[in-house]
C-alpha cells in the first residue's frame, strides 16, 4: 500500500511562504542582474551605426593599443598591489599573533578603518601629500629632494596597497590563531628548528588563507574605480576606461563601454572562481585544543617587530589623518589658509545638505531592504535546498563578480527605456546599493543559519509550534545579532559607494562620495576633506558598534 503518490513529504506539502521567497529571489536576479548584464552583452555585439549584430566592438578592443593597454594596466596594478599587500600583510599578521606587540588591538582597529574607508579618500589624501602641490612633496623639494608627482601607476599601487593589505593580514592572522599549538610543538619535538617549523608547518597551514586574501586583494584592486580615477592621471585601467567610454558615448549606443565592461567582468569572474576554488579546496579542519601562545620577545627583536607593525599601520592611517586635519583648516574657496576653522563643514551644511541627507536616506533604505530580503533568501538557501534553490544560490552570487562600474553601466542601459524606466530616480541608486550588497547579506545569513543546530528548530516544531512561529521565536532571535552586524557593514559600504552611483546620479540624487569626487576634481579640497571626514567618522562608529555590541571580530569586516 504505497502512499508515496498521494502524500508528499510534510515540508513541501503546501505552497508556503518560502516558495514565494524563492520566486521573489528569481525576480530580483532576473530583473536587476540578468537583464542589465544581458543588455551590456547585447550592446557589445551591436554595430554603432547600423544597430545590427557585429563583432566590430570586440575587433576594436583587441586591435587598438589604447584598449589593450588599459587591460594590461589593470592586470599589472592588481598584481603589484597583491604582491605588496602580502609583503605588508603577512609579517603584520605573524608579529601580532605570535609576539606580544603593545597596542595590537589599536593597530588592528586602525588597519580595518583604512580598509573600510571609501577607496577614493586614500587616493585623494596621497594627492594632497605627494601630488603636484602636495605638502610633503613641497617639503622634500625645499630640502632639495625632488619626488616625482604621485599620479599614475605608482599612486594607484600605493593607495590600493595601503588600503587593501588588511585583507591579507586579517585572514592570515585568523588562520594563525587557529593553528593548534601542538602542531608546531610536534614539529619542534621531532627536531625541526623554528625557521624550519615556520616553513614546513606554519606557512603551509596558513597558505590557503593567504591565497584567499591575496585573491580578494587582486579582485578589489582590479575592480576599484575611485582610486585610479582620482590618482591615475592618464594611466587608464579597465574601470576608468569603461567610465570614460561611457561618458563619451553618452549620445549613442554604449558599444565600447559595454565591451570593456564584459572584459572587466570576465577578469573578475576568473579571480572569484579561483578564490572560491582555493577556499573550498584547502581548509584544514583543525581541532583547536591548545591555542597558539603569544611569545614575549625582548631587545632588538622586539624593537624591530614593533617598528614594522607600527610602521605599516602608520602609513595606512596617515592618509586618513591628513584628511581629517585638512577638514579643519581655514579655507577660502579652493585655497587652504593658515589656521583652523569649521568653514568646510559649514559650507557642506549650507551648500549641499541634500547630499548628506541623500547618502543617509539611500543607504539606510537600501540596508533595510538588504537585511530583510537577504535574511529570507539566506534562510531558503541554508534550509530549503530544492532544485529551484540550487539554481538560485549561484545566481545570487553574481554581484560578487560584477564590478560597480559594470553594474552602473548595466543599470543605465537597461533602465533608461521601457518597460522599466528608473534613470534619474533615487530608486536606481538604492537598487544599486541593494544589489551590490545582497550576496554578502545572503551569504552571511546562510552561514549564521548553518551554525544554528537544526535540532533547535525541530525542537520548536516538536513542542507544537508551527513552522512560521518556530522561525519567529527560535530562528530569527538566534540570527538577530548576525543580521544586525551584517546590516551595519552593508550600511557603511553603501554610504561609501562610488563606482556605480557615479554613473547613475543626477543633480538631485547626488551622494557624498560623488560630491567628494567632484570636489577633488574641481580642486575644492576643503569640502572634500570635510565630507570624507564625515564618512570616516560614520565608518568608525559603525565598526565600534559592531565590535562592542555584537562582539564580532575582524572576520565580520573582511567578510564585508
Amino acid at each position: 500500500m504505497s502512499q508515496k503518490a498521494e502524500t508528499p513529504s510534510i515540508r513541501h506539502s503546501r505552497a508556503d511562504i518560502w516558495s514565494f521567497v524563492i520566486f521573489f529571489g528569481f525576480v530580483i536576479v532576473i530583473v536587476f542582474l540578468i537583464y542589465p548584464l544581458f543588455d551590456i552583452f547585447r550592446y557589445s555585439f551591436m554595430d554603432k551605426k547600423t544597430q545590427t549584430f557585429s563583432l566590430s566592438n570586440w575587433k576594436t578592443f583587441f586591435s587598438k593599443v589604447y584598449y589593450l593597454r588599459a587591460f594590461w594596466h589593470s592586470i599589472v596594478i592588481a598584481i603589484l598591489t597583491t604582491f605588496f599587500s602580502m609583503v605588508l600583510g603577512i609579517p603584520l599578521a605573524f608579529f601580532t599573533t605570535r609576539y606580544r606587540i603593545k597596542g595590537a588591538n589599536l593597530l588592528n582597529t586602525l588597519s580595518v578603518l583604512a580598509l573600510l574607508s571609501p577607496t577614493f579618500i586614500g587616493a585623494y589624501s596621497w594627492i594632497t601629500m605627494l601630488g603636484r602641490n602636495g605638502f610633503l612633496r613641497l617639503l622634500f623639494q625645499s630640502i632639495g629632494i625632488n619626488l616625482p608627482p604621485i599620479y599614475g601607476p605608482l599612486g594607484i599601487v600605493l593607495a590600493d596597497t595601503l588600503q587593501y593589505y588588511p585583507f591579507i593580514s586579517l585572514m592570515t592572522a585568523g588562520a594563525l590563531m587557529t593553528i593548534d599549538r601542538s602542531l608546531e610543538e610536534a614539529s619542534e619535538n621531532l627536531g625541526a628548528r623554528s625557521i624550519k617549523t615556520f616553513f614546513s608547518v606554519t606557512l603551509p597551514l596558513v597558505l590557503p588563507s593567504v591565497t584567499g586574501g591575496a585573491l580578494i586583494v587582486f579582485m578589489m584592486s582590479l575592480s576599484n574605480f575611485g582610486t585610479p580615477m582620482i590618482i591615475g592621471g592618464n594611466y587608464l585601467v579597465l574601470p576608468t576606461l569603461a567610465y570614460n567610454l561611457y561618458t563619451s558615448e553618452i549620445s549613442q549606443t554604449p558599444g565600447m563601454a559595454s565591451t570593456v565592461s564584459i572584459i572587466l567582468m570576465l577578469c573578475a569572474s576568473v579571480v572569484i572562481v579561483l578564490q572560491q576554488w582555493v577556499s573550498s579546496r584547502r581548509k584544514y579542519a583543525s581541532m583547536l585544543v591548545n591555542r597558539p601562545v603569544i611569545k614575549q620577545i625582548k631587545g632588538i627583536k622586539s624593537v624591530l617587530a614593533h617598528i614594522s607593525c607600527y610602521g605599516i599601520v602608520f602609513f595606512s592611517t596617515l592618509p586618513l589623518a591628513v584628511i581629517v586635519y585638512f577638514s579643519f583648516r581655514k579655507t577660502s574657496g579652493p585655497v587652504f589658509k593658515p589656521g583652523f576653522s569649521l568653514d568646510s563643514y559649514r559650507q557642506i551644511f549650507f551648500d549641499v545638505p541634500k547630499t548628506v541627507t541623500n547618502s543617509f536616506l539611500y543607504s539606510i533604505t537600501a540596508v533595510l531592504l538588504i537585511a530583510f530580503v537577504g535574511t529570507l533568501l539566506g534562510f531558503v538557501i541554508a534550509r530549503k535546498r530544492n532544485a529551484a534553490v540550487r539554481i538560485l544560490d549561484p545566481l545570487l552570487m553574481i554581484p560578487y563578480m560584477v564590478p560597480g562600474t559594470v553594474l552602473g553601466i548595466g543599470f543605465i542601459v537597461a533602465f533608461n527605456k521601457p518597460p522599466i524606466i528608473l534613470t534619474g530616480t533615487a530608486a536606481i541608486i538604492i537598487l544599486t546599493y541593494f544589489i551590490r550588497r545582497l550576496p554578502y547579506s545572503v551569504r552571511s545569513a546562510a552561514s549564521i543559519l548553518k551554525q544554528i543546530d537544526p535540532a533547535l528548530e525541530e525542537a520548536g516544531i516538536n513542542l507544537g509550534s508551527p513552522p512560521g512561529r518556530t522561525f519567529r521565536t527560535i530562528t530569527l532571535p538566534l540570527m538577530q545579532s548576525g543580521i544586525i552586524s551584517g546590516a551595519i557593514m552593508s550600511w557603511v559600504t553603501s554610504m561609501n559607494e562610488l563606482s556605480a552611483s557615479i554613473l547613475l546620479y543626477v543633480g538631485k540624487t547626488m551622494t557624498m562620495p560623488i560630491k567628494i569626487y567632484i570636489s577633488v576634481a574641481d580642486g575644492y579640497f576643503g569640502t572634500a576633506s570635510a565630507m570624507s571626514t564625515i564618512l570616516l567618522f560614520v565608518t568608525g562608529i559603525a565598526m565600534f558598534i559592531v565590535n562592542k555590541y555584537f562582539n564580532r571580530g575582524s572576520e565580520t569586516f573582511i567578510a564585508a
Partner: protein, 366 residues
C-alpha cells in the same frame, strides 16, 4: 492498551532503504528501546514517528489515531535530543514553558507546570539561568523537562545520553527511567549502547540494516538471541564454527574443530553438517578434573583484571575466545603463553545455523 502501532513502515532516502518492514506495537506506559549500531535506521524510525521524516510506505497510529498526515508540530510526540537542543536565547524557565505557551495555557498554569517539570528533573531554582551557564547534564535535564511539560502522548529519546561522560550517563539513565515510570508516559528510546538498553528498557527492538532483528524483554534479547547479529551486538559472546559428527545420544551430538571436541545439544541440528557454537564468557566453568566434559584448552594471550572479574583472552584452535573468571585471585591467574583450561556446559550453549545465521535448537521457536 496499545499506545503506538506501526504497520509495514518503510522510509527511503533516494535509493537507500533506511528502514523497512517495521511492525511494532508499544503498550501504554512502556519504555521501549530501539537498539542498534550507527546507521541501522533507529534514529530514522524515531524521526519518522516524530514527523520529521515522511514515510514512503506504511502507517503510524498513536492511541488508535492514524497520524500519517499529521504535521510534526501537531503530533504531540515530545523529543529529547542528542545534543540537547536547548534554546540558547531563552532562560531555563522559557525553554520549559515554550511548548506550553504555544498551547496558549494560562500564565499561572504554565508556571505551575514548569515548576513541576523542573522539580522532577531536580532543577528547582534554575529557572532564570541561561543554557550557557549549565553543564551538559543540566542542559539535558532541561530538554527532558521541556518535553515532559507538554504532557505528550509519547516521549521520544534520541540518544540523549551519548554526549555525557560515563558516570553521568549512568546517573541520568536511572533518572530518566524513574521520571518516565512515575509519569507513565509511553517512551521510545534510541541508543547504540547495549548496556544502557538492557538497564533502562521494558522491551528492546534490536535493529540492523533498517530491519528489526528481534523484539523482546532485555532478558530475552540477551539470553535468547534470535540470530548471530543480536547475539554479537548484545553482550560479549564467543562463536566457533564446528563440524558436526553423525549420531546423537541423550540429546547430545559431537561437534569438532581441530583437536577440540564438544558435546552440543542435538535439537534442531538434524541434517546439518556444520553449526555455530556460541557461549558467553561468564557461562564457562572451571575444568576441575581432567575428565570434565567439554573441556577446552587455550593459550593465554592477555588478561584484563576488572576487579570482580578477570577476563582472559585465549587462543583456541586458532580462534580468539574470551572467558571470565569470577572472584579471581592472583594465584589463579596463569601467565601469558601458559595453558588455561575451562569447560562449556552444553546447556549454556547457543547454536546457530552458519548458512542463515538463525538460531537453532532451544529458544529458536520464539
Amino acid at each position: 492498551m496499545t499506545s503506538i502501532r506501526i504497520v509495514d513502515l518503510e522510509k527511503r532516502f533516494g535509493e537507500l532503504r533506511a528502514i523497512s518492514d517495521i511492525n511494532l506495537e508499544i503498550e501504554k506506559g512502556e519504555f521501549f528501546t530501539l537498539l542498534g549500531p550507527s546507521g541501522c535506521g533507529k534514529t530514522t524510525l524515531l524521526r519518522t514517528i516524530a514527523g520529521f521524516y515522511k514515510q514512503d510506505q506504511g502507517d503510524i497510529y498513536i492511541d488508535g489515531e492514524l497520524i500519517n498526515k499529521v504535521p510534526a508540530y501537531q503530533r504531540n510526540t515530545a523529543m529529547v535530543f542528542q545534543n540537547y537542543a536547548v534554546f540558547p536565547h531563552m532562560t531555563v524557565f522559557d525553554n520549559v514553558a515554550y511548548g506550553l505557551r504555544v498551547r496558549k495555557l494560562p500564565k499561572d498554569e504554565i508556571s505551575r507546570k514548569v515548576s513541576a517539570a523542573l522539580k522532577s528533573v531536580h532543577l528547582e531554582g534554575y529557572e532564570k539561568r541561561t543554557p550557557d551557564k549549565l553543564s551538559g547534564g543540566q542542559q539535558q535535564r532541561v530538554g527532558l523537562a521541556r518535553a515532559m511539560a507538554i504532557q505528550p502522548r509519547v516521549l521520544l529519546f534520541d540518544e540523549p545520553l551519548s554526549n555525557l561522560d560515563a558516570k553521568l550517563r549512568i546517573e541520568m539513565r536511572e533518572e530518566i527511567r524513574a521520571v518516565q515510570k512515575s509519569l507513565g508516559i509511553t517512551s521510545i528510546y534510541v541508543t547504540h549502547d547495549q548496556e544502557e538498553a538492557l538497564v533502562i528498557s521494558d522491551r528492546i527492538a534490536v535493529m540492523e540494516q533498517g530491519v528489526i532483528q528481534q523484539i523482546g524483554k532485555p532478558w530475552e534479547i540477551y539470553a535468547d538471541p534470535k540470530n548471530t547479529f543480536v547475539a554479537y551486538f548484545v553482550g560479549k559472546i564467543n562463536m566457533l564454527t564446528m563440524h558436526l559428527l553423525e549420531g546423537a545420544e541423550g540429546g547430545l551430538r559431537s561437534a569438532v574443530l581441530g583437536n577440540l571436541s564438544l558435546l552440543v545439544p542435538s535439537e534442531g541440528t538434524e541434517g546439518l553438517s556444520e553449526v555455530i557454537v556460541a557461549f558467553r564468557p561468564e557461562d564457562v566453568i572451571e575444568a576441575a578434573t581432567k575428565a570434565s566434559q567439554n573441556k577446552v584448552m587455550g593459550i593465554l594471550k592477555t588478561v584484563s583484571f576488572m576487579g570482580s572479574v578477570a577476563r582472559f583472552e585465549l587462543e583456541v584452535e586458532g580462534q580468539e575466545i574470551t572467558i571470565d573468571r569470577h572472584r579471581p585471585r592472583e594465584s589463579d591467574i596463569p601467565q601469558k603463553g601458559e595453558h588455561a583450561f575451562f569447560a562449556v556446559p552444553s546447556d549454556s550453549m547457543l547454536l546457530f545455523d552458519p548458512k542463515t545465521g538463525l538460531r537453532i535448537g532451544r529458544g529458536a521457536k520464539k
